[in-house]
């Protein structure tokens, strides 16, 4: 039972990372109609900058804070140089061009930082464990991530539902031609949204730094999971991204923790470990298949999905 609660929290925390990446991705698709494979690269850039600056200054806070503008700048450059030319192209062109971007960014990161993974320590202030639920000691840093993620989700929700920019975003995801026709500077909105998506991804990358090894390719791993999230949640829907992220995070984590044990009830231990390992890493995709069978356009379909 204790293990279950602990794994549930781990799943929640993975879900938060996924949400930070998927939210930007889904908004960018919803409004600009753009599929951006290089979104994971912004996650990676955030992690690398945070790790490097923390190494220089010794302060994780400064590292984290410098990762945000770095990701934003990278996002704006990418939008300005490449993405702008892709809005009117079909999805195939977008996929290929952003695939080219991934090759470029990954190689550039290798040239700057080398092939050896970087490691980032958990900041001193957040070391140790805490018992949120009596009897379940849980690392403070992971609790901080969950809290930060919930905070960001709240801020995002407030921006989207309560501000003028949010109104434009919602309007844009329903009918972007109409928004442009009403005299909104759509180019500026696109760049701003792209930068915002980059900041979320960079923030997630920086927070992930102390938990995983910072290396080339880390962005694509989370990107593909974020795709699964978006397919489950429904393209263009932030609410869908939130629900999808938590589902995927929890199913993935619990699957890895418990599927081999459950199989041991039916199979020989060696066999259960073998099949269980495979099955547990396939769980989220099976979840996606299930959602597809029941609701082909995701749990929270939006107008953008029809495009």
């Amino acid at each position: 039972m204790l293990l279950f609660v602990e794994q549930l929290l781990n799943g929640l925390q993975l879900g938060i990372f996924l949400f930070l990446v998927a939210a930007g991705l889904t908004l960018i698709f919803g409004i600009m109609g753009l599929i951006n494979l290089a979104h994971g690269s912004l996650f990676m850039i955030g992690a690398y900058v945070a790790a490097t600056v923390t190494g220089w200054t010794g302060s994780f806070t400064i590292g984290l804070l410098s990762a945000l503008p770095a990701a934003a700048i990278a996002g704006v450059i990418i939008e300005f140089v490449v993405m702008r030319r892709l809005y009117d192209r079909d999805h195939l062109d977008q996929v290929l061009a952003t695939f080219g971007l991934i090759l470029f960014i990954n190689e550039a990161v290798t040239m700057i930082w080398g092939r050896t993974p970087l490691f980032l320590n958990v900041p001193d202030a957040l070391k140790g464990t805490i018992e949120i639920i009596p009897g379940v000691p849980y690392p403070i840093y992971r609790v901080a991530i969950i809290a930060a993620g919930i905070l960001v989700a709240l801020i995002l929700w407030l921006i989207i539902t309560r501000t003028r920019a949010g109104m434009l975003i919602r309007a844009g995801s329903t009918n972007r031609e109409m928004v442009a026709a009403l005299g909104v500077d759509i180019a500026l909105l696109y760049t701003a949204l792209f930068a915002a998506g980059a900041v979320f991804a960079g923030f997630a990358g920086a927070m992930a730094g102390p938990l995983v090894s910072v290396q080339v390719g880390m962005g694509e791993q989370i990107l593909i999971l974020a795709f699964v999230v978006i397919v489950i949640g429904g393209i263009g829907s932030v609410r869908g991204a939130l629900v999808g992220s938590l589902l995927v995070g929890i199913v993935d984590t619990l699957g890895r923790a418990f599927v081999p044990d459950i199989l041991k009830l039916f199979l020989a231990p060696a066999e259960a470990d073998g099949i269980g390992g495979g099955l547990s890493s396939m769980m989220v995709y099976l979840l996606m298949a299930l959602v597809l069978v029941i609701r082909p356009s995701g749990l929270f379909p939006t107008a953008a999905a029809a495009r």
Binding site: R89, V95, L96, F99, F104, E107, T110, I224, L292
Partner: protein, 335 residues
């Protein structure tokens, strides 16, 4: 539409490919034959992808999955044949007339299952879902500890065996690959020209119209998806035999991207294009580092992808019709 120029080109190309092992040997570098065999194999995969991409308008970003299944069928059966253990109660084997059709058939079956799910959606969903399912299969093969997991599986028994044909001879194997490519090319040409192919193109142009005309669009797309999966499975079967080694790397998502690039580079919506694209892509991959080395640009020699990535973006932005368009089509003629 094939131009008058294309047919002589294909015939000349075939003659060149038939003569190639002799040319390579005369040039004192028989290794080239193996390089070109690899190009032929990936050409099969690229043609099979273009069948659904260029003719059916389905952007599958998970085509390497079927490549992987074909390859793993060969390697796993060879593994059991070599150590004498049983798989599902049956002995393993390296006998090509059994193993190869099995690899192609299993790829087709998996394509049928995944295609039935993926084709419930379209557009950008389809791209993401095909990518995600391919990633699922990638993790599946990574988790097969018995078959090497992450590290992959060497085929200690060597290439598959075939009556009267010695596949272990590199030149012979090259001709087998060439024969399969030619056969698959002719098959796809017939498919494209058939009523089925025309319906497929109609769906690409306007799916709703075809639905209104009463065509069972979903079934047509699924059939094309299965044929493409089987084609990639065939390429996988040959690929495993080519390197005598398989690893999850074959179905890594970047491989799916590579095959997509081959199609675009060569010319989408054509059958000759993917062959050109496969050659151009693999030669660039092999020789860009060499070229940078020769120009003594050492930094770029190790990091050639930093040039390759932007090159790809530029091709997508400005040279959409690919090599095929440059060679055979002077005027703009889309459709």
């Amino acid at each position: 539409m094939p131009t008058s120029f294309e047919k002589p080109f294909l015939i000349a190309g075939l003659i060149f490919l038939i003569a190639f092992p002799y040319i390579a040997e005369a040039a004192g570098n028989a290794y080239f034959t193996s390089t070109v065999a690899r190009i032929l194999i990936f050409a099969i995969a690229a043609i099979s992808l273009d069948l659904i991409l260029g003719y059916g308008g389905m952007v599958s970003f998970g085509h390497a999955a079927y490549l992987g299944i074909g390859a793993y069928v060969v390697a796993i059966l060879s593994f059991h044949g070599y150590d004498g253990s049983a798989l599902f109660g049956l002995p393993g084997t390296e006998y090509a007339p059994i193993v190869w059709p099995l690899g192609v058939a299993l790829s087709a079956v998996v394509a049928l299952g995944l295609g039935a799910l993926c084709l419930r959606t379209s557009g950008v969903y389809f791209i993401m879902i095909t990518l995600a399912f391919a990633q699922m299969l990638f993790f599946f093969f990574v988790s097969l500890q018995r078959y090497g997991g992450d590290d992959g599986l060497f085929m200690f028994a060597g290439r598959s065996t075939m009556p009267f044909i010695d596949l272990d001879n590199d030149t012979t194997f090259y001709y087998v690959c060439l024969a399969f490519l030619a056969g698959f090319f002719i098959l796809c040409r017939a498919i494209v020209a058939s009523r089925f192919g025309r319906v497929l193109r109609g769906i690409k142009q306007n799916e709703r119209r075809m639905v209104m005309l009463g065509y069972p669009v979903y079934r047509y797309k699924l059939a094309a998806f299965v044929i493409a999966g089987a084609g990639a499975g065939l390429a996988g079967v040959l690929l495993a035999n080519h390197t005598k080694f398989v690893s999850p790397d074959i179905l890594h998502w970047t491989k799916s991207g590579d095959i997509l690039i081959m199609v675009i580079l060569g010319g989408i919506g054509t059958l000759t294009g993917p062959i050109l694209g496969s050659a151009a892509f693999l030669l660039l991959e092999d020789y860009l580092p060499v070229i940078f080395g020769a120009l003594s640009m050492d930094l770029l020699k190790d990091h050639w992808r930093i040039v390759f990535g932007p090159m790809l973006i530029l091709i997508v932005l400005f040279a959409r019709r690919g090599l095929y368009g440059m060679l055979f089509r002077r005027e703009t003629d889309d459709g």
